[in-house]
Symmetry: D3
Subunit: 338 residues, 6 copies
């Protein structure tokens, strides 16, 4: 039977200015529904897994549209509830060349997801038959309600034997002054329960108050992830090292720490159609790698290729099959698929 991955996460509306225009130049927006949890379960659904999302959307036409979009991705919507009035939104002005993309958030603290208490969901039921639960550190940054929500759902999940995938995603701007200190206890609690963790060297430094004197990202990761893995008994810690050449060109190298060893993929040159959400495609690679028992080196290469390919798909949510990833892994150069 198919493995089942659930995510507890916010659904946001992405409002993209088309054709690389600025908001002040245009009159049209392209909208879609997204979020880390959406992206992860959406792509895993495409990989062939059962997936579901636990979330809250407003009780209006925006909420209805959001649920339809989630279902269209093949994600089960049984545990998406309608509550309160707002959906988190972000406006995206796509960058070009030396001009970076610009994201403007609006309405996030008042969103249905960030104002809905965990007791409103039937959490116990939502974890039935679930193998993996994905959660994201951004929810920890919002408010007391969301912090408590995350802690509660992780607890329930663990009680039912569900594995936890935790994407640290520490955003200094959201935590504000002395954010590191306030974030630390929450991150520590979650990390103790987590089985797979997406963590950069900056996440480690910011959320756990760790330090390193190493200079290269690779050396920093090697030092820090060892400490984190041991302290919190985490199976896998993974992530990517991204080198920015411009808005249309990056270099991506994946890393994966397992059983005391760090594994790296090669560094892929990436042409970028849509940068946002590509980290979530990496996460999907790791989850799939683990659920299908890939060896660590294969897993990090597969995950990085998934991330690479995600840059070629418009929108936050990547949409391709594992076969497509394998072609990237094998560096097959295909003219046209007919």
């Amino acid at each position: 039977m198919n493995k089942h991955i659930a995510a507890y996460g916010e659904i946001m509306m992405r409002l993209e200015v088309p054709d690389n225009l600025l908001l002040r130049q245009a009159e049209n927006l392209k909208y879609s529904f997204t979020g880390t949890g959406v992206n992860v379960t959406g792509l895993l659904s495409q990989f062939g897994y059962e997936t579901s999302l636990i979330s809250a959307v407003p009780e209006n036409s925006i909420g209805t549209a959001a649920i339809g979009a989630i279902r269209r991705l093949g994600i089960h919507s049984d545990f998406i509830i309608k509550n309160n009035d707002n959906l988190g939104m972000y406006f995206l002005e796509q960058g070009f060349g030396s001009r970076p993309s610009n994201v403007t958030y609006t309405n996030r603290q008042q969103s249905s997801f960030n104002t809905t208490d965990i007791s409103e969901y039937d959490i116990v039921q939502s974890m039935k038959g679930v193998d993996v639960l994905h959660i994201c550190g951004i929810s920890l940054a919002m408010n007391n309600l969301t912090q408590n929500n995350i802690l509660t759902i992780v607890k329930v999940a663990k009680e039912q034997g569900v594995k936890i995938v935790f994407d640290c995603n520490y955003r200094p701007s959201l935590w504000g002054e002395n954010g590191n200190q306030r974030a630390k206890p929450y991150y520590e609690t979650i990390l103790r329960e987590a089985d797979i963790v997406i963590m950069s060297e900056k996440d480690a430094i910011n959320t756990l108050n760790l330090t390193t004197t190493k200079e290269s990202k690779e050396e920093q990761l090697e030092e820090l992830l060892l400490v984190v893995a041991e302290k919190f008994s985490i199976d896998i810690i993974a992530g990517t090292i991204r080198t920015i050449q411009g808005s249309n060109q990056n270099k991506i190298k994946g890393y994966l720490f397992k059983n005391g060893t760090i594994y790296y993929s090669e560094a892929f040159e990436v042409n970028i159609l849509d940068r946002i959400g590509t980290g979530d495609a990496y996460t999907c690679g790791v989850i799939h790698g683990e659920l299908s028992n890939m060896a660590p080196q294969e897993m990090v290469t597969f995950s990085t290729a998934s991330c690479v390919l995600a840059h070629t798909i418009s929108g936050d949510t990547a949409l391709f099959d594992t076969d497509d990833i394998i072609k990237i892994v094998n560096e097959e150069k295909i003219d046209i698929e007919r």
Copy 2:
């Protein structure tokens, strides 16, 4: 020299689903910047007046786009400040035939306008050289801050000899339970200062606790407006009676109370391209009528024709010249203007 009309009002982003689609059916939105104050000063600017808007927009690319849009309408933006993070938004699903249009607000309480204290503006300076100040009752419904803001700006305006145009615009859903009682003192205070008032029979009943036993709207208005005009010493009270045949067809009849007499326009059959903001075009007719010394009967006909024509313009803000209105008044049927 040109007369100068200022408005103190919120700028909102209108996000319209195109082609009469529902939000859940589409992937694109058309956006524009609007609001009662924008609509009134935008059209009066087109009539040839100096106009300006006193408002607050967020300190981000949304705010920048909003200011550009206001300027494009010919409105001075010197007193639009950037403050806080949100712009009020509404999603519009255009109705058709027997299906009514649907408006979904988002983020209104947290908007820059509704969270910016009046002291942040240079109000005294903004009233220099201004002849007329337009304000809207919706701001009274928001919160204590906005209620105080309105009272303050009206006070400053009156001290500088500026005439006040007040659009009652009482929305029961915004005031909530016992709203009538809470609204009453605010409305009474403003009405005492107002020179021109846009008020329906329902506004009179809801905000002033008045009653009538008459049945037709006309009789109700005749009874109620007399009471209001006398009690608050208001020069002009005006508005429209709208009969809904469907989303694409309405009937509109204007009324105007002046010097103890009520004047009516004929009832115009209206084909509707865009319903929203058409009341503001009526207001513009009244303001222009008063500033150009029209007789009451001419004024009510002109204002109603302005409202009628506004239904044929896409977007909230009407865009036409007084000449175009005169053609409606004269019932000129024009084939194509070349």
Copy 3:
């Protein structure tokens, strides 16, 4: 627990030329996925029912897109299989005024649905927990395979106690010469099993070789439906009488035959945004009426109002709640819903 309505029907791709253009004038098409079964289960899903579709789509990106679209409507896709290479398509040139809409079919005989044997589906499983099965007469017109498929699924459904809703939908052009005679045995077999039938006076004449000397549609229906209902022991026979004023304006009057009596709705004037699929909204009204035990007169009015409202929704599949229909029934004229 929610009632569950399943449909066995073809998913087609609708390719619509936008802005009332002709195919030869344009360069863009708007596409969506539709079909009688899609429309019926899509709207019933919106009414709050569990719904599912039994269908086949091609094993390619078109099939994947089709399944996503079905899920977006809230329909379960567990019994949609991927088989063969083609999806039925139709091009739609929307009419205007005195110019009728034009539909051009392509590729219908070779579609996955019309070339997939019923044995490819897990029919027995698909009928588990289902209360109502909807089938459409168009499938009878395709080929021997589809004729057999329909007969088989109806048999399985009846064995499991599922009620049958049969939409006659006799299309002379699809049956060709002597079509009436060839169609007759199939229609008779299905009608014997059907509980609710959507049938016009022309369907009765064409498929059952019935005759009438009456002149008005109403009299013809009264005569013919009585015969049909008695002969085949059908609970409900229903449909609409449509008067064409032009592509943007029709008049619709519903009829419903039950227990020997025919009931009519009033005749509604209809402004048309999208004509196609509106009959399916009528069917949904009848199914909902029956499942919620409406009285016949209420049922026919509700169903007709559903059909009327469906004309105001772009696309084949109507999307509204029963509340919205009730407002049409009550002739509430709503300005803007906020």
Copy 4:
């Protein structure tokens, strides 16, 4: 063998603001290539005739695009030459309801057509095998060059036995002060050569200095056309009487004067998708009527129905078959053509 209709006329670029927007509101334009000659030969080509256009377009990418568009309509382009730098353009803001459409011309005097001497074309060759030549009075209003061009081509055509269809199309704004007097000799010269003339009562008054004391359009036409037909020995004089209810609704009644008698069609109610160029569809009806030997009453009804149907086609150039017109004549109300 097919009859061949040629037109000597200007190709213009039509730049239409979409969605009933004003130029100042939008950022996109829809463009097409049009002109009276284009419209007439384009529709006649659809009727099944051989057609060709004699015209000049600029020697650049605009000219190339124009020729492609003409060919796409089925018109032969062998006598369209590339000369000079400009194409005439007009911007179209589509009206709605009580707001009339607005046309803004640009660059007309400097267009390739209006600056190319008739000697640049191989006129004699272009009239080979041609049965009918269509010319338009607007060219008479431009400048001495175009006036001479028209006179020359008419002379050559007549020498080769080609019938002349002349659309008077007198535009006071183009002729300026004392335009009537200056226009008169040109119109008289052409009318003497013309076989079929499209002329309104205003054309008769303005270009020939005729007068009438009658009040109704019908009576005026009856008086004036008799005079014109006799004086200039014209076979057929025809046109339409248009009553404007609004930008989306007109009433159209055709008239046709032949052998001393005037024939009228019924007055058709017209829903308008696109008003421009509909008179040219009337002209096509008259030309087809004459070439296919229709009786006068049939001809005027057919021509009016062609004009009516043209209002339902987007763009200046009507695109339908004679069969479609017959359905309008017969008042067949068709639901959907499948």
Copy 5:
């Protein structure tokens, strides 16, 4: 007098998902009419040749649109007939970076072209005045009817002294199991009649059962093409070697075998806007080179530059002048052409 190139080939509808989206993500398609024969005659028409297409399209609005599109390209449509009901279609999801483009065919076997017997065309008449006939190997893969059609038209053409250009275009997926063996006799027959052949080393191996032990494409071509040219007495065999770096970047090197010698162009780096149909632009280069008596080295460079430039034009059909190609040959780097 201008040389005349005819093509006998299928017209297909290309349905392209815009903005690099996947079919499952979008709601709009851009459509155009294309095919190898369309591409070749379309570009040669732009080069200044007379061109015509012999083809069949359906008897409906799709067929009408197709003919208009062909004419717009400057191709004569006198020998395009309307027959049967279907047009071949393909959906195009444009690739990006490491994601290849995806083409999904639909409805090809049932297309009008592939179901119309050659006797339906007036082939003898269609070859009058024709200098070159272009045919494509894909037609050989369809069915017995199309195989016979090709053989017949080639025979008729040769009898009238028309040169044959044959594009091998062997597609293994279309020929299925043991396709090589079944294809061989057809390819051999055509090659015997052909004057110019577009053939890759794979075409030679697959269709003629040839073998080579060489490793590089260049060496393989040198060995194989010599054999083919001698065996079938072919004047010119040509093609391109394409190196895929990604969907937006290829390297192209042309080769041309003539009089026992193979000539190569330099290898051009190509930025790709639209990959499809670029091989046809190479073919046009060869045809033009031959008809204008270019030396072999000039011809292969010109043809490759034509292919290179075709990658910068949206759509299958390249649109530029020979002058534009010469600039590529000369490596002129132009800022902006004004």
Copy 6:
């Protein structure tokens, strides 16, 4: 107080074919309002300066739209007058890869700006409070009227102590045969008054009849600019050296001559979204550098970075803050700005 920069220059309508299509392939255009003066004041307005434009637009809806667009950019429109009937236009077909962009002008000589005498403007008033006036050499190429206009406004400006920025912009095609000689006296007159000059080595050679035997652009500039600066006592002469790799990739190196020394920026690799108007962003850099007292080396780097960034903004007019330029100067590579 803010410095105030005025420009006297033409407003043109840019009509861009979207999606890299050719005009003959498309049916839609994107329009905007632009011109050297618009671009310079638009970007300087964004930098925080007061700006105004002195120009003339037609007395119709095109003129109204143009003024709105100028105001939207933050430019004062008080000295834009409405006069005559035409706006200059250009059609833009965006290049790709080895295909250059193509610009087709239309209607330029007849534009309102190029037919409006300087006496129609209130020039003396328009120079009140202005610090810098920007003018462009293209106006010198139009006709006697525009030549005189430029000379007059420069004279008035100098009398009021306004600094003159002169962009030479010599276009050989506009001046025609012996253009160099006719241009010389005008350029000499203006250069004598100019404080900052944008001049390439070709401008120097063409307009001043200078010669150089040097080969590299750098050496030529060093020789020629020294001569020009001394002869005409110009403070600053600046410009860019552009190396074309293709339509999407250029290399840009800025130069700036001040006090006898020439300064160069590094050569930036530029990814191109929109090439047009990028030189004006360079000019803005120079003006801002001078007004904010940058050292020459800083100034040339800043100006070049401004030019580089302008290539990443759609449309002629660059829109970014000086902060954004500083990031380019500092080579900060930013992932996404949130």
